[in-house]
Each structure stands twice: as C-alpha cells, then as structure tokens.
C-alpha cells in the first residue's frame, strides 16, 4: 500500500506539470526508446523511465542520467502512438530532479543548463562567456582543448567579447516579470 501512495504522489507531481499528464496513457510499446539517438547511453531507457515513474520509483527516476541525455530532438514525441509529449516528460523529470536535489552527478548537462538559464534570465546569452565559464567551472583541462575551436570562431568575429544588453527599461520589465514568476513558485 505504501508503494501505491508513493506512486500516486509522484504521478500527481508529474501530471501537475504542463505536458506531464501523458504519462498516464503510456502502453509501453517502446517506440520512444527505439527512436532515441541516445537511448544506449541512458541508465534507463525513456520507456523504462515512464514505467518506473508509474511504479512510484521517484528517487530512482529523478537521479537517473537518462533525461540529461535527451537532445530535445522530439523524435519520440512525433512517433508516440499515444500522443505522449515524451520530450516534455524528459524536461519535467529534469526540473523535478533539480528541485529535489537529486541530479545525477556524472553528467555536466545540468550545470550547463543552469548556467545557460542564468544568462537567459539576464536577457541574452553571451556565447563566449557562457562557454568559458562552463569549461572553467567543470573541466579547465578541456578548455585548453577547446582553444583551437574558440580561436577559429574568434578570428571570424563569431565570439563576441561584448554581450547584448536590453535597454534599462526593458531589463527592469523583464526582471519584474521573472521575480513575479519566482514568487508564484514554478509552473503548475
């Protein structure tokens, strides 16, 4: 009975997120897994992840590496015979995993996403600083290997030192909107 209560809670949590409700109608045909370019790298395939979520395995699902390998290519979504927004489910697992502090430790994608979101919420993504900061934060050695790629981009004016700024009025408008959204406590 304990499992059932747990399952209901986790399912409710997923269904409360926009796009999450599809999880109820999955028939476990495996089309999403067969269509996924990265299924072989995941500790649990996309269809397995759905089955686990429905079995109430909240911790196992949210600490999986699977959703962090999702490329948002939407192949699973367009092929699902039940019309489940599988890519949206992966995004939902990602945000629930961050909220729950259960993020898989062996992939750098969550760190990259957080940094990306940090810059987005300032109004624009400065590609150079975003990449430099990410590499220095996660793997300074790798940043050395990236020098030739960065140099080629810099040489052609494709990595700008300057970041795009909104007007002061536009920026305060954006910050007011995001502050309000934050006070509402996330999408439901």
């Amino acid at each position: 009975m304990v499992t059932e209560t747990k399952a209901n809670t986790f399912i409710d949590e997923i269904c409360a997120l926009p796009g999450g409700e599809g999880i109820k109608v999955c028939i476990q045909c495996g089309t999403c897994t067969a269509s996924c370019p990265n299924a072989d790298l995941m500790d649990h395939t996309p269809s397995e992840l759905i089955a686990m979520a429905r079995a109430g395995m909240r911790k196992e699902v949210l600490s999986s590496n699977a959703m962090w390998y999702c490329l948002s290519c939407y192949m699973c979504t367009v092929r699902c015979p039940r019309g489940i927004k599988q890519t949206g489910l992966m995004h939902a697992f990602e945000s629930l995993s961050i909220q729950a502090g259960l993020v898989h430790t062996k992939t750098l994608t969550p760190t990259m996403y957080r940094l990306f979101n940090h810059y987005c919420s300032l109004g624009s993504l400065p590609e150079l600083w975003f990449m430099a900061r990410f590499y220095l934060q996660t793997n300074p050695f790798h940043s050395l290997r990236m020098i030739p790629v960065a140099f080629n981009l810099l040489k052609r004016g494709r990595l700008s030192l300057k970041s795009r700024k909104l007007t002061p009025a536009g920026n305060s408008q954006l910050q007011a909107i995001l502050a309000k959204a934050e006070s509402l406590g996330g999408a439901k």
Partner: protein, 300 residues
C-alpha cells in the same frame, strides 16, 4: 512587399555567433521584397535549457517577447529553430493549460504587459518557401548553382514536434529550395536527425558522434556542401568539423552554409555581404563551382 516582425535570437544578433545567417537573411530578404522589422528590446527566448531548470520562468521569458510582438500585429519570424519551437510551444501550452496561462498573465502584469495569444511564430524557411514560393525564388536566380550537390540538413526542431510546417521526418521544403536555385539536393537519409545540439558543450563526445554520422551520410551521398536552417546545427557541423576529423581520423572539408547564404550566392550577391568568410570550413570551392563551372570541371 511582405512585412514581418523579426526575432533574430541571441545567435543571430549582432553579438552572436551566427551573424552571417542574419546578414544573408537581410540580403536575401531585400531581393525577395521581404521587410523584416526587428522586435524592439527582445530578450532571449530561454531556449530548451531554461524550461528544464525553471519551467514557469522559461514560459515567461518567451511570453514577454510574444507580448511585445503582439503589439505589431504581424507574424513573428525567427531564423533559429530553437526559438521557433519555444515560441510555438509557449503558444500551445498557454492555450492548453489555463492554470499556466493564469500564472504567466500574472507575471507579465508585473511588467505591465499582456499577451492575448495571437502571435504566429514562424521559421524563416517557412516564410521563404511558403509565403514567397519556389517560382518567385527561381525568378531571382542570376547564378544558377550548376547542379551543385547540396545535402539539405533540416535538423530537428524546424519540423519537430511539428507546428504545421512541412513533414516531421521526411520534409521536402529545403530540397525543393535547393532545386529551385539550380542545385541538386542529394539523398540525405539523416536530414532530420540530431546534430547533438547544446550537448556539444556538456557531452562533447556524444555530440561529435552524431555530427560525425551526419557528415558521413552527407559525404557518402556525394554532397559538396551542406545547408542548414539553424545557428546551432551550423556551429556543430562547421566549427566542430575539425574535432570530428580528429576524433574519427577523417578528413571532411564540407562547407556548411546557412540556406540563405546559398540563396544569396545563386542571387549573385557577393560573398562578403553573405558573410561567407565567417564560415570556418571555406566555401571557396562552392563559389568557384558556381562562378567558373568550366575551369572547375577541368581542374576537378
């Protein structure tokens, strides 16, 4: 003259890595009588990562842009496939989930904005192939591509999850566009498979594997270059081509052009205007092939 609100997105802004895409769009639009008015004071759409970190915040980022665009009363066009999906997804979700809409409305109100949900967000490829059309494009061609073999690379998000433009797995618009310029679209079985997207940063090995497959598929079908419709796809295929070569001991030198750059070449516009020198793999051979077909044939 056709009028649109233009949303360049971070990559195609003047501080972004895909300036050449923006430049070639501007140049080609002039030829095709398309008037693009950039959205005033736009912010980043949030792209895919934001939604995975903070869903409501991500919907609000996109909704601010949509609310600003609504004031213009025009369709909003973006050259970036990620922006295209984000805006359409936001529109769809706001209609489908009233509770989400209420939260977004309340947040927008804090910035004195209101969004009714009327903006149509469209991709540049859709505008050019649907609103302008292949015949009008053909009529502007001054330098036909002489059968240049072009691998038409759509990538994922321009056709998926699918917002009414082209086919989700076997699209044809870019193929037909290449043909209308006098080029030959090659068979390209992987034309809608993923390039690795932003995971090129966090999981480079995985993304290089995918990019490698694309280059291999294009080359083995005889492509002399690829065309893309997305700034990120272009960066992965072009800037990381040397990394693919190093990892897989290959020697690809496939130019990766934005589709508007290829159009500009066929329209007789000069390479500088189209930002060809910003591409990392040189497109000199493509230009040579189009401008001096006879000497090209004799030397190759």
């Amino acid at each position: 003259m056709k009028y649109y609100t233009y949303f360049p997105g971070c990559s195609c802004s003047s501080e972004g890595g895909a300036k050449a895409y923006d430049w070639s769009i501007q140049a080609v639009s002039k030829v095709l009588d398309i008037e693009l008015k950039e959205l005033d004071d736009w912010n980043c759409c949030g792209s895919t990562p934001s939604g995975s970190v903070d869903e409501l915040g991500a919907f609000c980022l996109a909704s601010r842009d949509l609310a600003l665009a609504e004031k213009t009363g025009l369709d909003m066009v973006t050259p970036c496939s990620a922006c295209y999906v984000i805006f359409n997804r936001t529109n769809t979700y706001l209609k489908q989930y009233p509770h989400l809409k209420a939260q977004v409305d309340e947040s927008l109100a804090a910035g004195d904005l209101k969004y009714q949900g009327t903006v149509k967000a469209r991709h540049m490829l859709d505008i050019i192939t649907t609103d302008i059309g292949y015949d009008a494009i053909k009529s502007r061609v001054k330098k036909p591509l002489n059968g240049l073999k072009v691998a038409p690379y759509y990538g994922c998000q321009v056709v998926r999850p699918g917002f009414g433009f082209d086919h989700t797995e076997n699209p044809q618009s870019l193929d037909k566009l290449v043909a209308s310029l006098g080029g030959e679209p090659t068979t390209f079985p992987l034309k809608t498979r993923c390039c690795g997207g932003s995971l090129i940063i966090s999981e480079e090995g995985l993304a290089l594997d995918l990019t490698h497959k694309l280059l291999e598929s294009a080359a083995s079908n005889g492509a002399e270059c690829l065309v893309t419709v997305c700034p990120l796809c272009q960066t992965n295929l072009d800037a990381y081509q040397s990394r693919v070569n190093r990892k897989f001991k290959t020697n690809y030198k496939l130019p990766v052009l934005f589709f508007t750059q290829l159009m500009g070449i066929a329209f007789g516009l000069d390479g500088k205007t189209l930002g060809l020198n910003k591409n990392i793999v040189s497109s000199n051979e493509v230009m040579e092939r189009v401008y001096n077909p006879i000497s090209y044939m004799t030397t190759h």
